[in-house]
């Protein structure tokens, strides 16, 4: 095993915190109405994020990771998407049962915040960065929380401003006051993403959902942002759901990784187990397809299925060399292989076997 996937991963940080569940997604189903018919983009998906844990949600294009992120936030496109079943519990409360207004007021931007994929288009182009942050604080300032001592408006604004400037310094914006006066197009992509991260931290959330936050950036900037995100998440004790198509980035910052394929989650494990002892055939093939001098170039034959007419059973079975008739008939339930290592496969690689 380890010989095949490079040197063993040694996690210096033993699974931190993460023992109590912060977010639990169970059997979530989401469908989209498309021109070609109804596409079931999420097919009974499970996901768990512990407190203060950085969870990587990994998968190739069309696997549903962005849809899952948007479903948790409650911002699926209203006219085409429909939640068909399952549950999302955050701190023990069901998010799907909350009124949309309550969700927007009390959860989004307060308990759960968001770092977008596209730092270029996600700022409103006609307002200064400062104006957008001021609005965020007007509605989401931590000073507005019920458990904080009440403050006058002036006093609160002063405290908020100080907090904004301090956080911008923390994300390495050298001159925060000047940056606030600028329009988004006057800042570089890296700077914009740093400010997005600061904005995600401003309301003192419990969970940040970062949807491919480094995909649009160059590798050196990506490295800086990943480093920053990891440090800040640890300092602030905030959990992060980090979606990415790049296994390498997931390796860099995640405590745990869940991999998805064509709308189904396949495997979920600690980073150490995931990269050292992948159990699902898809995970193994995905890791093998990374360019490497030792292995040469190995792709996965076949193509990602169309979600309008997905293969029955395990959606990976047409491309899987371990697939049996049963795989085409039913979807495997989660099998627990070791410490928090779940895999949805009838024929996983079991620990010890090789």
């Amino acid at each position: 095993m380890t010989t095949e996937h490079g040197p063993s991963v040694t996690t210096t940080t033993t699974p931190r915190r993460g023992t109590r569940a912060l977010l639990e997604v169970r059997d979530l189903e989401v469908s989209f109405a498309t021109d070609g018919g109804v596409a079931r983009v999420l097919d009974r998906v499970d996901l768990r994020i512990g407190e203060g844990e950085i969870v990587g949600l990994v998968g190739e294009s069309g696997c549903g990771k962005t849809t899952l992120a948007r479903a948790i936030l409650g911002v699926l496109p209203t006219n085409s998407a429909r939640v068909g079943g399952g549950s999302i519990h955050f701190q023990g409360e069901s998010l799907l049962d909350k009124e949309p207004d309550t969700l927007a007021r009390e959860v989004r931007g307060r308990e759960i915040t968001f770092v977008p994929q596209d730092p270029f288009g996600s700022f409103n182009p006609v307002f200064t960065v400062g104006a957008q942050i001021r609005d965020l604080m007007r509605w989401k300032s931590p000073a507005l929380r019920g458990d904080r001592p009440p403050m006058g408006r002036r006093e609160r604004q002063r405290a908020d401003h100080a907090r904004v400037v301090e956080l911008l310094r923390t994300v390495q914006i050298p001159q925060p006051e000047q940056a606030l006066a600028k329009y988004p197009h006057e800042l570089s992509g890296g700077q914009r993403q740093r400010i997005m991260i600061a904005m995600a931290l401003l309301p003192e959330p419990k969970l940040i959902i970062a949807d491919e936050p480094t995909t649009a950036l160059d590798v050196t900037i990506q490295a800086q942002i990943l480093k920053l995100l990891r440090r800040l998440a640890e300092d602030h004790g905030v959990a992060v759901l980090f979606t990415t198509h790049d296994l390498g980035t997931a390796y860099e910052i995640c405590d745990r990784v869940t991999v998805m394929y064509a709308g189904q989650e396949m495997e979920s494990a600690t980073s150490e187990a995931f990269f050292n002892h992948p159990a699902h055939p898809y995970t193994r093939k995905l890791l093998d397809s990374l360019p490497s001098r030792d292995r040469g170039l190995r792709g996965i034959p076949g193509e990602i299925p169309a979600l309008v007419k997905p293969p029955p059973g395990c959606r990976f079975h047409p491309r899987c060399d371990r697939a049996t008739e049963r795989c085409a008939r039913e979807r495997p339930s989660t099998e627990t292989l070791g410490h928090a290592h779940g895999v949805r496969c009838f024929h996983p690689t079991r620990p010890g076997a090789s």
Partner: protein, 328 residues
């Protein structure tokens, strides 16, 4: 890599492309030096990688080679003929064997033309073959890139991203090129498809005797398939040499930071280890001397004076850095 002794197929010397920066009066207020004195040669049969981050000029390089941009200075000699400063239309006979594939090959096909017609077009422009002869050639190439003939009757948007790349390749292969510029040929592809496409490049290289100029930001891919590599930063080559040498013992601090930024599963985490700070300066307003010095951890006062040029540090590699001796 066995290609070292082969003659040069493409010789590029001091190539520059400066875009004018204009104010609202359309008066020039400065130059954006997208390409600032680039020299290299590509030997027959090799794969030369060009790597760098956005804004480093690697795409401008590809487009200047193809004649889409007119070079501001320098020369491009392909198969012994000077082709700089001649429009692609006027020099089409000289350029027939120099072809270019786009980052997004789907977008390089006319959305209103069926794939078959697009595949015929290069032959219509460059040859006098009749329809039947062209068709035979197109079908042969289609087979070589692993596409079914039924694709001839489809529109570009009806095939997947991986297949669009195959179509893009087929389109230029009909002309039997000797040198193919591959511009970001794997960006936007899923890893499971990427390996398949890269294998196809390697197979086609053998089958059609091709030479590649492989422009990419993905260092792990470049490392896999390129014989030599040129690292660009803000319009200049800062390091060039055999892939093995450059990746194993990078001499330029920028190359080192690039390599350190690539996630390495099982290796050291960049979140613990990465040191490069700041972002590239505005290419319209470059620092004096070495253009990397504003971000360089080992720069000193000397670096602000003269701009370093490429100097050979060992037989297989050269570096543009005043402090290369001290660090390699």
């Amino acid at each position: 890599m066995g290609a070292a002794s082969n003659p040069a197929l493409l010789e590029v010397a001091d190539l520059a492309k400066h875009f004018a920066i204009r104010n609202v009066w359309k008066r020039r207020v400065g130059w954006l030096r997208a390409l600032d004195g680039v020299s290299f040669s590509v030997r027959r049969g090799e794969i030369l990688g060009v790597v760098g981050e956005s804004g480093c000029g690697k795409s401008t390089l590809g487009k200047t080679l193809m004649g889409i941009h007119r070079p501001s200075a320098g020369s491009i000699v392909f198969e012994g003929n000077e082709i700089a400063n001649i429009s692609p239309y006027e020099s089409r006979s000289l350029r027939r064997h120099l072809q270019y594939t786009y980052q997004d090959p789907g977008a390089s096909l006319d959305p209103r033309w069926k794939i078959g017609r697009s595949l015929h077009e290069p032959l219509v422009i460059h040859t006098d073959l009749d329809h039947a002869a062209r068709d035979a050639r197109v079908r042969q190439i289609l087979h070589a890139v692993g596409l079914p003939e039924s694709h001839l009757d489809l529109y570009p948007h009806e095939v997947s991203g991986g297949q669009q790349r195959r179509v893009g390749l087929a389109r230029i292969l009909t002309l039997q090129p000797s040198l193919v510029v591959l511009d970001e040929p794997t960006s936007g592809l899923d890893v499971s498809v990427q390996a398949t496409i890269l294998n196809l490049f390697l197979e086609l290289q053998k089958q059609f005797d091709l030479t590649y100029l492989f422009i990419s930001h993905d260092l792990s891919v470049v490392r896999m398939i390129c014989h030599r590599v040129a690292v660009m930063y803000l319009g200049r080559i800062v390091e060039m040499g055999d892939t093995e040498t450059v990746f194993a013992r990078p001499a330029h601090p920028y190359t080192r930071s690039l390599l350190a930024a690539i996630p390495d599963i099982g290796g050291k985490r960049i979140t613990d280890d990465f040191w490069l700070e700041g972002e590239p300066p505005n290419p319209g307003n470059l620092p004096s001397g070495c253009r990397f010095r504003t971000r360089c951890p080992i720069a000193d006062a000397g670096c602000a004076g003269q701009e370093p040029t490429l100097q050979a540090t060992d037989p297989t590699r050269s570096v543009a850095c005043w402090k290369a001796e001290a660090t390699s």
